[in-house]
């Protein structure tokens, strides 16, 4: 029996050692990441975390770094491409080691930004120069600068729509549905493709349309104070009813359970799919796919969400990932220099077909038709994003998650029992209940 106390001691030591490692990181410095005055004097090695593993692997990022070094010769830039960006960064953020420059993961609550990132400047100074500062503004300080922005809208195959006899952009959901009916009748294409299996094309593009419908910069914020976001006439009601009708009238792909995003790009390029709600970022990808397949890249068109307000289309303009500086970084100046250079001078946004973060830079070529047709760009206010997200998580609805729209589609195609109205009522109730706990 002699070994008992010994084993107890060993166990206790082991547990104590480990207990010391639990919990979050140490004290954050809270020091601002300011742009360096003299580019020649900044030095240090910075690690940049990115979700674009493709650009790291084909050395595109290294080429950007080489360009950057022409101005900042003493800064060494290293890249880490993460395939599952959100998942991996989320875990690394429990330590202090999450790179010097990183993209702000969606999972971090906005109120926690000051704990993780160094402030880049006062919002009132930043907002004059940059778009999308509201997204990372916490208490008057801005914590991130957008990689680029995207404009919400439908990517469609012009040839298919013309073959069906529709040449004008539909201005109401009903017109849009009528257009899809014509495509179904006159061409062999699937009028709309939901990408049900991959899920994300159901979440962000649809939820991003909040604001395209009402043409209101406060559309997203108003969810925080709303008891019935799915009430008739509301943005979410219009958006989700359209999706329901598309599926219910069998205007989408035949078997949603086995859809495939990569395959859908080729199908749209070849004219086997009529349209998909995505964003301006997708247009260049589709065109590249069309070129690869020997189809005409000019057939890929981009149209706004089929709703007009006072006779005009509106399209929300949203920030992609935002670049931020780790608050524990030892090279904040160099990190800030990289962010400034990357968003202003690298030409990355233009290459990706995105809306540049810099207000002085013009809109990308892909949204030219929107500008020509006088579409209003709506940059949504993000003042209450934190509350909206808190309610959204508490209610387990997941506006930016595919699940609730997958269920909507299941109801629409009869795979699940229920009616649209009941489902909206259920969502409203869950939202209101959660708002009572998490809102305020």
């Amino acid at each position: 029996m002699r070994r008992k106390p010994l084993s107890a001691v060993l166990l206790a030591t082991a547990l104590l050692t480990v207990a010391g490692c639990g919990g979050g990181g140490g004290a954050s410095s809270g020091e601002a990441a300011t742009a360096p005055k003299d580019p020649d004097k900044v030095s240090g090695t910075i690690t940049v975390l990115t979700n674009r593993t493709d650009l790291v692997q084909d050395d595109t990022m290294d080429k950007y770094a080489a360009e950057f070094n022409k101005i900042y010769p003493k800064v060494k830039v290293k890249f880490q491409g993460l395939t599952d960006y959100e998942g991996e960064v989320k875990i690394r953020m429990n330590t202090e080691d999450y790179g010097d420059v990183l993209l702000i993961p969606g999972v971090v609550a906005k109120g926690d930004y000051p704990k993780f990132f160094a402030p880049l400047g006062d919002t009132k100074d930043m907002e004059g120069k940059y778009r999308f500062t509201g997204k990372s503004d916490v208490k008057g300080k801005t914590y991130g600068i957008a990689n680029f922005g995207t404009v919400n809208g439908l990517v469609y195959n012009k040839a298919v729509w013309e073959k069906a006899g529709v040449t004008e952009w539909p201005t109401t959901p009903a017109e849009f549905l009528a257009g899809l009916e014509k495509i179904k009748a006159k061409t062999g294409a699937a009028p709309y493709y939901t990408n049900f299996k991959d899920g994300w094309p159901l979440s962000s593009p649809w939820t991003n349309s909040i604001g395209s419908v009402s043409c209101d910069v406060g559309a997203s914020d108003s969810l925080a104070g709303s008891d019935k976001p799915w009430a008739k006439g509301g943005d979410l009601n219009v958006i989700d009813t359209l999706l329901y009708d598309i599926v219910h009238r069998k205007l989408s792909e035949k078997d949603p359970a086995t859809t495939n995003w990569e395959g859908s790009k080729a199908q749209l390029a070849k004219g086997e799919i009529g349209s998909m709600l995505l964003g301006s970022w997708a247009v260049n990808q589709m065109r590249a796919e069309a070129t690869r397949l020997g189809e005409n890249p000019d057939d890929i068109g981009f149209m706004p969400f089929p709703v007009q307000k006072d006779g005009k289309f509106c399209a929300t303009m949203l920030s992609d990932y935002q670049l931020a500086v780790n608050t524990h970084s030892e090279n904040k100046e160099a990190a800030r220099a990289w962010i400034d250079w990357f968003t202003e001078k690298s030409g990355f946004a233009a290459k990706e077909g995105g809306v540049p973060a810099l207000k002085s830079a013009g809109m990308p070529e892909v949204v030219k038709p929107f500008e020509d047709n006088d579409v209003t760009f709506v940059e949504r206010s993000e003042a209450k994003t934190e509350q909206v997200n808190a309610i959204d998580n508490a209610s387990e609805i997941g506006l930016a998650k595919p699940d609730y729209r997958q269920k909507l589609i299941d109801i629409a195609r009869g795979a699940e029992k229920g009616s649209l109205q009941d489902y909206f009522a259920e969502l409203d109730k869950r939202w209101a209940d959660a708002a009572a706990i998490a809102g305020s």
């Binding site: 010994l6 999972v107 926690d112 704990k115």
Partner: protein, 323 residues
């Protein structure tokens, strides 16, 4: 020095003789036996240090952390977390919809029954002398060797609209136009089918191993007495593989309560195929309710322990003695 490497620390006082003999052989009998030295007592622990450190770091600490998280409202990222006491557990048990997903497990439970029967059948058949015996063994075991994610993708194409299954059915004149993963019933049945395909090999190998450990004379004797193949199975094979069979049942139950890979890859839990584990993952990583998700995981662990305990009480694991 065999004693010191054995797992349990030896009791030196009870058996001093061999050591002295060994010491004598080395011609250096110490005045004070080295066995009384304090280091001597620690030696086994020093050997155990590496495995224990690994076990504690990678098994007990994470489990301990999970239990700790289940009493907090941690969102998985924030440096702050508040202790909420039993709040997560109360929430869990007052929300019936969180337990409704266990109905999906019934599909997998039914499938495991089928799976055990198939595996038992083939193990019995292939334990007799058959042509191409090893080839068939290989074919049956092969699916288990494939990575679960790969299986998910393979079967996604298999069930696709106009995919492999539809084309094969159309050769036999069946209407090849069915969304296999389209409605909850068909989707769950299809997914459970995939799980049967994948895990039959494992059960098969377990059964085959048990069957082959039965001494051959028993069959000979049975044949001399004129026992048929069924009687041989009933009275020789079945009793001797009972421990393995009961192990398989435990694995089947805990497995069907904790299904994850195949439905997560193939449907992501859409169309009524959400299992308890998928729901837990979604709570933790989609809705940032790490605390509640940890509570779910703890509850699942307890349920599985309870089921196992219950089963051991109902079907005690007797020693099998054939001879």
């Amino acid at each position: 020095m065999t004693d010191t490497t054995s797992k349990a620390p030896p009791a030196p006082l009870r058996r001093p003789a061999p050591a002295q003999r060994r010491g004598a052989r080395r011609k250096a009998p110490p005045t004070r036996s080295w066995r009384d030295h304090p280091l001597r007592r620690i030696t086994p622990w020093l050997f155990l240090l590496a495995p224990l450190a690994l076990l504690i770091t990678f098994t007990y600490v994470p489990v301990g952390n999970m239990i700790y998280y289940s009493f907090t409202d941690w969102d998985g990222v924030s440096p702050d977390r508040n202790h909420t006491g039993l709040d997560n557990y109360i929430q869990l048990f007052t929300r019936p919809e969180l337990f409704r997903v266990f109905f999906v497990s019934l599909y997998y439970l039914a499938a495991s029954a089928v799976q055990i029967v198939i595996a038992l059948y083939f193990a019995t058949v292939l334990s007799f002398d058959l042509r191409f015996r090893n080839l068939f063994k290989g074919i049956l075991f092969f699916p288990y060797l494939i990575n679960g994610v790969a299986i998910g993708f393979v079967f996604l194409y298999f069930f696709q609209d106009g995919g492999t299954l539809d084309s094969i059915l159309s050769w036999f004149g069946a209407d090849g136009d069915r969304a296999w993963l389209g409605d909850p019933e068909s989707a769950n049945t299809s997914l459970a089918g995939v799980s049967v395909w994948r895990f039959t090999g494992l059960n098969f190998v377990l059964f085959l191993g048990a069957i082959q450990s039965i001494p051959g004379e028993l069959y000979e004797a049975a044949q001399l007495d004129g026992a048929s193949r069924w009687q041989q199975f009933r009275h020789i094979i079945a009793p001797s593989i009972r421990p393995v069979l009961s192990l398989s049942v435990i694995l089947a139950i805990s497995g069907s309560l904790a299904v994850f890979e195949i439905p997560y890859i193939m449907t992501g839990g859409a169309t009524g195929t959400q299992t308890f584990v998928i729901q837990t993952v979604k709570l933790a990583f989609q809705f940032n309710k790490t605390g509640l998700a940890s509570a779910c995981a703890v509850v699942l662990l307890l349920i599985i322990l309870a089921v196992t305990w219950l089963q051991r009480r109902i079907v005690p694991d007797d020693k099998v003695d054939l001879v």
